[in-house]
Subunit: 222 residues, 2 copies
Amino acid sequence: MNDAAPLAGTGFIKGLPEQLRADLLARGQRRSFERGQIIQQRGDLAREFWYIERGSVQIGRYGIDGRLTLFSLIGAGDTFGELAFMGEFPRTVDAIAGTDCSLIKIGDGELQSLMESNPVMVRLLLKTMALTVQEAINLVESSRSLSVPQRLAQALLQLCGNQDNGAEVIAIQQDLADLLGVSRVSLGKALTKLQAAGLIEPGYGFVTITDRAGLKRMLASQ
Amino acid sequence: MNDAAPLAGTGFIKGLPEQLRADLLARGQRRSFERGQIIQQRGDLAREFWYIERGSVQIGRYGIDGRLTLFSLIGAGDTFGELAFMGEFPRTVDAIAGTDCSLIKIGDGELQSLMESNPVMVRLLLKTMALTVQEAINLVESSRSLSVPQRLAQALLQLCGNQDNGAEVIAIQQDLADLLGVSRVSLGKALTKLQAAGLIEPGYGFVTITDRAGLKRMLASQ
DNA sequence: ATGTAAATGCAAACAAGTTATCATTCTGGA
DNA sequence: TCCAGAATGATAACTTGTTTGCATTTACAT
């Protein structure tokens, strides 16, 4: 499979040369949000994008019934909000602070001028956008063809990044359930299964990964 | 909601000025495929893209178990295959002729040179890619929050485009089921429901839309 | 230490979708 | 006109996931 870029945190910024990235971030404006606070809302006309310096952010949609559909949980080093810039449309998802966090807000003008002054940027943007589309397609396929425990394994692998065994994924069960699009009950059962298989150890507000390779194996086997 | 661009047929070509589009298509190469024939396969290194002149194409993935996950059914005027070009990676989906069809194959070089000679192209490409991501996000949300009959209504509306009542959507139930990611049994039940509500009339190999407005209403009501 | 709110665990009734199987209907070609 | 294959309709057992309600555990602030 590919390197699991989170759906709404294209992370194009990671592809930038060190110098450019530092410049871009330096031109941004640091802001803090408390857990649960709304960072952006569906329908907003703003086109700036955000870099996560510390903490985590939930990207999703509140339905009319108040139900939350999470598309991704992103963390330090990820970016979000560039879609409205590229697409020239209002925000189409809500972003909520998953923990207390510190973000850097970068104006769309900065990105615009970077794009114009640096032709390599265009290729990079196109490429990361294409990857995002792929990621979205993978998401659709996963949710159709994998079992809940498998999808949980997939999500946990993505959330812990490249960390070794012993890594802790900070998320309450309700958030993981919203991310997978299942009820908390189903998520609980899936956690129990992975635990029984010795792959994870559920905690209070976090999940400890005890067997990364085992989680990966779950996805490979059909 | 937005104007339902099909997931894998970004249709950036529709945004091109008339003249440019004609030029681009003229430089392509016409090819025919019989129903069921494979047009492109996951893993292929090719980077050209395709314009559908006549007929329909299924975009999806064959799972290891031989199961098909359809992401979209696209038709005349749509394009597909540009993602591999932008992302610089091998094909990530399969394309199968849904009916006998006539396609125009356009080399990646053509797109490349168009991009270089015409800076507006970049904006257009980024914009349509952003729309595709949105479409994918909508797809995920729909499949989580809507019932099967509602999703069927949504799919039928998309497939019949802007046609009036009386329009026929050409697709067998199995294909519609693969598109929605449900079994044929469930799809049949959903068809029956929409028929009972007087919104559609199922046929043999097609579905007639008898009440477009009614279908739309189904999506609005929570 | 203690109280409180949040998070988790658990169980039963219920709803929705799948699988498997078989009968029936439709279409197009011989 | 008739036949064969394709598509549809229908049914029943089964699996999976949801909903609801409540008990228990944990973390944190006072």
